[in-house]
């Protein structure tokens, strides 16, 4: 194998076919970029799930003065009821990780803190907010066990699972990720088709060389290798551009724009980027090689 010869064939092939090669590079970069972005959203969703599921609580709101649900017919929660609920919660260990009682005063303090810049605070009396138990579960998916045990019990107004609110949000993100993935997949198909056509044009523009190579007895491998390498180089450059784009998104969009603005949540770390990047390169080069291989079998036979 003459490496020099093959290298010069590849570079002359790319130069001769520059516009098509550029089209391949850009298409590969865009489609792999989308693919990487959808992977990143996925990683983000799982990061946020880890972050939030760790923090979510089941809130058991107790009956107050104005409560009008059937379970509150007996008026505000009594001290005995409250103690019984707490004891029952404690008995659910180890599913119940910890129980925290929030009094009306504490609830008001927290509310005031959350809405300190809002005029709404002037209209809310400390007694308007219900007292509650904040229950942290060791396995947040087992919310139903707690809900069925406590919902509708006298003295309890409502059992709330914060996870439900989060799940809606995660579903939205999951949907976005699915759309991005679908667009990425269709772009990848476009990429394959473009590479196939590029190889056809390249094979046509080099038909003199290849016909001579066939006549003097060059092996199939030798005839096809420059074309395969050309496709792989173009796809490789496209993949590298896509990875650069991914790193750019991580540094600029996530670390410098999103993370400072939304400090209440966690964002994907470099480990996710590091896991996605090789996958993108692998998919890109693999696609190009497969596309080229099938084209060559069709158009560059001995």
């Amino acid at each position: 194998m003459r490496a020099n010869f093959v290298a010069s064939e590849v570079s002359s092939g790319i130069r001769r076919n520059l516009t098509m090669t550029m089209a391949v590079v850009i298409t590969v970069a865009v489609s792999l970029g989308l693919f990487g972005a959808s992977m990143l959203v996925r990683a983000q969703v799982s990061t946020m799930k880890d972050f939030w599921y760790d923090k979510v609580e089941v809130s058991i709101f107790l009956c107050g003065k104005g409560s009008d649900t059937p379970s509150c017919a007996g008026g505000p929660v009594t001290g005995a009821q409250r103690d019984q609920i707490k004891a029952d919660l404690e008995s659910l260990k180890p599913l119940v990780d910890s129980v925290y009682y929030e009094s009306q005063a504490e609830a008001f303090a927290r509310f005031s803190e959350q809405f300190k810049n809002s005029p709404i605070i002037d209209n809310v009396k400390p007694t308007a907010l219900p007292e509650s138990f904040r229950v942290k579960l060791s396995d947040p998916t087992k919310y139903d066990v707690v809900a069925s045990a406590f919902a509708g019990r006298p003295g309890i107004e409502q059992v709330n699972d914060q996870r439900k609110i989060l799940d809606k949000f995660f579903q939205l993100l999951g949907g976005l990720q699915l759309i991005a993935l679908l667009i990425a997949l269709s772009m990848l198909v476009v990429t394959v088709l473009l590479i196939v056509n590029t190889m056809r044009v390249a094979a046509f523009s080099r038909r003199r060389e290849t016909s001579i190579m066939r006549l003097v007895g060059a092996s199939n491998f030798y005839i096809q290798l420059p074309f395969l390498l050309e496709a792989a180089v173009a796809a490789g450059i496209g993949a590298i551009l896509a990875v650069v784009g991914l790193v750019f998104v991580k540094i600029i969009v996530i670390d410098q724009v999103l993370a400072p603005s939304f400090q209440f949540t966690a964002f994907v770390g470099w480990d996710a980027v590091l896991a996605i990047a090789p996958l993108m390169i692998l998919v890109g080069v693999g696609l190009a090689a497969i596309a080229a291989f099938f084209t060559l079998r069709k158009y560059l036979r001995v």
Partner: protein, 229 residues
């Protein structure tokens, strides 16, 4: 060297076969003219020898191998033993004379040291010393054909196929090319040449195989181009 055993070649969508039960043998070291009108089957004959086509029926033997039974990956090895020259030269316009010849060796993976040694040698054989760095478009037709012959001969093939090599050349230049092919034949390479050039065939007095409508109508040692026509 070449043996055709009742070879028939029928192209798809064609009523009459290009070759019809052709049987003939060409010995090692022979110089054979293949003559006949256009469409008589000369090109098909040569393409079968190069295994660019497969026969519809019958067997083609080249260099001791039955080409129907030759697997695809062995075709390059067969073609490395055969040199080919065409009417239209088929040189690479962006490569110099020496590069054109070297190309044939590079693509079969010969080492650079070998190429540096044999390319000047073969260019001397064909009479192109001193023109190594010229481009094909700076050469006359005869010189371009010499480059093509050098490329076909550089790997010292046992068989040289020439498809109307003088078809694009004037008579004076053709004589030079024929002398060169004759010399290559003297060096031990079997030469099979298709031609329409009556003067050359009459002058060389070598074996003549005449094809017409896919049949061998004449096979003469020391023959001439044709009977009175």
């Amino acid at each position: 060297m070449i043996l055709f055993d009742r070879v028939t070649k029928l192209y798809a969508n064609q009523e009459h076969p290009a070759l019809d039960e052709v049987s003939l043998e060409i010995e090692k070291g022979e110089f054979v003219f293949l003559v006949g009108p256009s469409g008589s089957g000369k090109s098909t004959f040569l393409r079968l020898v190069l295994r660019e086509e497969r026969p519809t029926q019958g067997q083609v033997w080249v260099a001791g191998k039955e080409l129907n039974r030759l697997s695809n990956w062995k075709i390059p090895a067969l073609r490395r033993q055969i040199g080919t020259v065409f009417q239209d030269f088929r040189l690479l316009p962006n490569k110099s004379v020496a590069e054109n010849v070297a190309f044939a060796l590079e693509v079969i993976g010969k080492p650079a040291s070998h190429i540096r040694k044999v390319v000047p040698e073969v260019l001397e054989v064909v009479g192109l010393e001193g023109k190594e760095e010229r481009r094909p478009d700076e050469l006359s037709g005869g010189e371009q054909q010499r480059v093509a012959i050098a490329r076909a001969f550089v790997n010292r093939p046992i068989l040289l196929i020439a498809d109307e090599p003088t078809g694009n050349l004037d008579p004076g230049t053709s004589v030079g090319i024929m002398k060169l092919l004759d010399r290559i034949n003297q060096l031990g390479t079997t030469v099979v040449m298709s031609t329409h050039d009556q003067a050359i065939v009459d002058q060389m007095r070598r074996r003549v195989i005449e094809l017409e409508g896919g049949h061998v109508v004449r096979d003469q040692s020391r023959g001439v181009y044709g009977y009175a026509r």
